[in-house]
Every structure is written in structure tokens, then in C-alpha cells.
Subunit: 246 residues, 2 copies
């Protein structure tokens, strides 16, 4: 996976087709990802039609990749298929609960990331849309997802038509702990975030948002408490509607 | 990622060391995985000590890999570090909610899977422990995880000392949908699960568990409604204790 060290999110795609043959090979290979009890608690909805993409776009705040990418993949935590299997076998499924949603989400997300690693290696470009969990009901309606199916990840996919720079990352000391979690002093935080905070890109971000520092761009504009709480309520509501008791 | 097509969970490891140098290189490469707002909402606790592994083992139903693997990695959804960064920058973080837990879990799981794919490619063996979300409080106590940190994945890691067969997977038709979710008829279920149900391993499973079919092994023994509901309550309780409001 040499390609990984040069990984970046790709939001602009060429007109070159992503064939079903290639897509299915990548899906088949991704299926090797570990899964709970080998149940494969996920499914993927492939959207290629203009109409389908237009229906999905509002759920993703109308980001242009959704309508411009040749392929949009919505990966779902899926306990429906497994429950249907049980129902047809005189086995009584008990998966309408929070843990089962988490289990299925884990399966779906691990599958998604193997797919992303494979796509990257193939030379494809993709963008992971975190918006999937913000307004899940809109996606459920657009894709006609039944009970016990929840969208958890969206990938826009195509052949790259841009070459953005690789994003910065925190030093390893920020994310790796030995034996137990060692908490961060103020000096640790200063040291670990210094590179990121001093990037020209970060300074520009602070300036155009009229904030004092980068952290405030996140707390006051990009991911506010108010939005998070509103969308938390919405997501819990949707989970219940889909049959996952909380 | 040729290695992927031959992927299997490895539960027995040789005495060969997994060096810190190798581990850190794999972590660094895994950091390229996409992450929400480039916040990297995850952390990893590395357990190598006998004492540390013994503390973790009960949370994983004392599966032998936990104490026998040279390295155990617990990957956590982490909004603590980011919140500390905000706190030291006169930015008021608002991440003690359900959506933020989900966002951080997504980051943690995508990072985990890139790590797994890299480890596999390196020739390492690993086993993903789904038990991590079953009794998270025990892991929190063992690793001294602060508020806004939740364990979501555990990997036991080492050089393989076994070579089990590759697991079966469902045909692509079971997991891929075009444009909208197409529900499964009874005939679809029969067709899609037939290969799995007719494996010698599956038949053996049914027999030793004294059940009528494979689905019943899952519903009645491996993943029962009662256990799922009990552990759902436990997980929600733990999430609240860690500061994620539900």
C-alpha cells in the first residue's frame, strides 16, 4: 500500500468510467475484511443515476462531489438481511438494539475502509462524506432502506481530476499511549498542535473565519455544540425509527 | 494488497518480537486515513506487559489471544484530546454528545482497518476482538481512559504461528444493491445463504450446538436477544459515564 503515504481526499473526477467489473472486484476483495461471527452486517447501495445522486445531495449539504462523482456508495450497518435469514429458518432474531447497531456499524466501517485502501491502490480517487450520520433519515428515504438498516458511510468515487496536497497529521505522540492512557498537559498540547496551528492553511482558516485561533474555528463554526446536539437528537430518533431501541 | 485475498484472523503467534520501530511505522502510515475535519478523533493504547494483558483479558471473555499475543492494541474513540486542545485555546468544546461519539468511533474504526490492512501486508497476524464493546467499563478501568474516551476496537498482534483456512463470504448479490435497497425474498435468502449453510464447518457447528440450523446457532447461542439487550444497556450506561450524553 505504497499509495497510502500519498493519500488525499479527491473531490474532482475525470469523465473516465468506473466499470462495474472493477467495482465488483473491489467489493469482493473488501469482503475479506473481518466481520462479527462472519455475518457481514453491512450492505452497499451503488448510486450512478443522475436522479439518485440528486436525491442524496441534500443529505450531504449539497457538496458538489455527490452529483459530480460517477459513483456514490452508501455503506449501511445492516441487521435486516441477517434477521430475514433467521426469520426464514425458524430462528428468532434479537437485533433491534443499540449493541447490534454498533456491531453492524463496526462491520460496515471496517469494510468501507478496506474498500478505500483498495480503491486508493487502484489509482481511484475518493472522498469520505462524514455527513452521512448528520441527516440519516434523508438517505434512508432516498435509498428506501428497510428496518434495521442505517447508513453510516458515503464514498464518492471516480478517477482523479485533481492532485491536492497531502494533509498534515499530528505527531505519533498525540495518538499513541503505552500501557495506560497518559493525559496531556498544557505543554503537551502546545507541542503536539504547534505544527498544525502554524501551517499557512490553518492561519488562513482562522483569518477568513474571523477567529482568534484554529480551535475556535472548530468549536464556534465547523462543529458547534448546538449543531452536534441537534443532530444527536435527530440520529437517535432515526435509529429508533429504524428499529434499533435506545 | 495481494495479501488481502488470503486474509484470516490469526490467534496464535510466534515468539518473534514486534518491534516498536515497526509498530510506529504502521501507526504513522495509518494516520493517513481520512478523519473528520482532520481532527484525528482516536487514540491507541499499546499493551505489551503481562500485567496489562491480564487486566484486559476478562473484558474479552479471557480469550487466549489477549494474554498470548506479544502486543494488544486498544483503539479508542477520543474526543478528550481535542477538547483539551480547545480548553487551552479559549475555545469551548461541545462534544459530550451522541453524534460526537459516533464521529470519533468512525475515525477510530477507519484508522483501525487501515492498520489491519497494513499489518496483513507486512506479514503480521492479527485478530480483531469484537468483545471490546461488550464490557467497555472493564477496559476503561484497565487503561485508565478519561472522559470522552471510549474503547471501540481491540487488535491482538504478532507474527503468525498458525495458518487457518480463509473464511467463506456471502456472494456479492447479498451485500450490493443498485440505486435503492432491494429487499430479499425467501428464495433470495435460500440462494444467498446456501453455500454457507452447506459447509462442513457450518454443519458441525449446528451439530455440536444441538440446533436445527446455522441461524439458530446465532440467535439461540452466540448472539442472543437477552445478551444483546443486557450489553446494550451496559454500553449506554458506560457512554453516559464517559461524558457522551444519550
Amino acid at each position: 500500500m505504497e499509495s497510502l503515504n500519498n493519500r488525499k481526499s479527491i473531490r474532482k473526477y475525470s469523465s473516465r468510467e468506473v466499470t462495474d467489473k472493477l467495482l465488483n472486484r473491489l467489493f469482493s476483495e473488501s469482503e475479506h475484511t473481518q466481520t462479527m461471527g462472519n455475518l457481514q452486517l453491512y450492505s452497499v447501495v451503488v448510486t450512478r443515476s443522475e436522479e439518485g445522486k440528486k436525491k442524496l445531495a441534500p443529505a450531504h449539504f449539497n457538496q458538489s462531489m455527490v452529483t459530480e462523482a460517477p459513483v456514490v456508495l452508501t455503506i449501511c450497518a445492516d441487521f435486516h438481511r441477517t434477521s430475514e435469514w433467521c426469520n426464514h429458518r425458524q430462528a428468532v432474531p434479537g437485533y433491534g438494539n443499540f449493541l447490534s447497531f454498533i456491531n453492524a456499524s463496526i462491520d460496515a466501517l471496517l469494510f468501507t475502509q478496506t474498500f478505500c485502501n483498495l480503491a486508493e491502490e487502484e489509482g481511484l480517487g475518493y472522498c469520505y462524506l462524514g455527513t452521512t450520520v448528520y441527516c440519516p433519515q434523508m438517505i434512508i428515504d432516498a435509498l428506501k432502506l428497510p428496518q434495521l438498516v442505517m447508513p453510516v458511510a458515503t464514498i464518492t468515487l471516480g478517477w482523479p481530476a485533481e492532485n491536492p496536497p497531502v494533509s498534515d497529521r499530528l505527531p505519533l505522540g498525540a495518538i499513541v499511549h503505552q500501557e495506560t492512557y497518559s493525559d496531556y498537559s498544557e505543554a503537551d498540547i502546545d507541542r503536539l498542535y504547534s505544527y498544525k496551528e502554524n501551517l499557512e492553511e490553518s492561519k488562513h482558516f482562522v483569518e477568513i473565519n474571523n477567529k482568534k485561533n484554529l480551535a475556535q474555528v472548530f468549536t464556534d463554526i465547523r462543529y458547534t455544540k448546538k449543531d452536534n446536539e441537534l443532530m444527536s437528537d435527530g440520529m437517535i430518533e432515526t435509529l429508533k425509527k429504524q428499529g434499533f431501541k435506545i
